[in-house]
Symmetry: C2
């Protein structure tokens, strides 16, 4: 039994697996980014900003990407040089800036979307029910990270005030979104919805309770 890190732990093996998949996704990101003269960090910022028409503060970019603030400043500067993002000063607070994607940035993203990525094909190879389970599991992991303040609130149904889980008896479309006022299913649960509005902690907890029972 000469074992490096308790290999009988499911936890450890899951993290090995996640690392592997993450590695592939990172390599994938390089390929996607490279074609447009970018790198993964810059591409990530562009994609982050795509869904936020009001822009983000430098600090928000940093926390969303899990890097330090100076690093975010660095990458934003690189994108600025290329004309893909632009800074404008944020409303009242004269210290803050608002980083927004430019139309050039949007076109660049659009252009890179052509071919199917390796990650995309890999997920496609899973059975439908596996995809659904994986999505829900990821939601649970991300929610846990949010609620323990490890990462900022993500724009998921789980933390959204418009989300009404299991509001319908229809097994295919049990949930309801009060923003678009429509029923939807497990596989339609959002990870990053631009219509998201953060609910207060108490109602988040209540909603999550209901969701978990399903």
């Amino acid at each position: 039994m000469e074992t490096p890190k308790n290999p009988t732990s499911v936890n450890h093996r899951i993290r090995e697996g996640l690392s592997r998949v993450a590695m592939v996704m990172r390599a994938d990101d390089w390929n996607r980014a490279k074609t447009s003269g970018l790198n993964p960090a810059q591409l990530a910022i562009l994609e982050l900003l795509e869904g936020r028409k009001d822009g983000l503060a430098v600090k928000e970019v940093a926390t969303n990407l899990g890097v330090s603030q100076p690093t975010a400043t660095d990458s934003i500067a690189a994108l600025e040089r290329k004309g893909l993002v632009a800074k404008r000063s944020a409303g009242t607070d004269k210290r803050g800036v608002n980083v927004g994607i430019t139309s050039e940035g949007l076109s660049m993203l659009e252009a890179g979307r052509s071919s199917q990525s390796l990650a995309e094909r890999t997920v496609d190879a899973l059975a439908e029910h596996e995809q659904e389970d994986l999505l829900i599991t990821l939601v649970k992991m991300i929610r846990h990270l949010q609620e323990t303040d490890a990462i900022p609130i993500q724009r998921m149904c789980a933390s959204c005030r418009y989300f009404a889980p299991f509001a319908h008896s229809d097994a295919a479309q049990p949930h309801h979104c009060n923003f678009v006022d429509a029923a939807f299913g497990q596989r339609d649960i959002r990870i990053d919805c631009r219509e998201h509005e953060t609910a207060d902690p108490a109602s988040r907890a209540a909603t999550w309770d209901v969701f978990q029972q399903g």
Copy 2:
């Protein structure tokens, strides 16, 4: 319906989720690595080499980490300066080298294992059955990547000649490992087993068929 990338696609949302989790793991890796004066790339190499007492070629390090060969050379050189890995020339072929972890490298890894990482706690927060499902899903994804030659063969049960899936009727321990000659369960499936020996493609396919039915 002004949507960036077909948000109705489960595939896309899963990749959003995986990216999020990957990001957290990367940030986590920085913390783990930092305490020992390393960075994630160097830590990854050290961990890769830990399970390979015979060492790896530079090229193998590169493919296993999904980076270019010069990048692998770079990082290996950084580790060499710190005395954590050592190169010796590979047997016959005088072009090749064998990169192996030193005892200093092993101690460094051991020292960094103390505290529970964020990723670890996140996986722990999942229910047991969810952990098991996630592990199996990851195995499927990685296998798909292997079989399509996107990544080199990983040391998983799925590609191992010693793996006999569903050899027993016991629902808790249906599989059998012919290396240790013991039964084991779904949650014990290995992602990176140091006893792995690659089976030939035909028997891999047959084994996988059986495994998938379970």
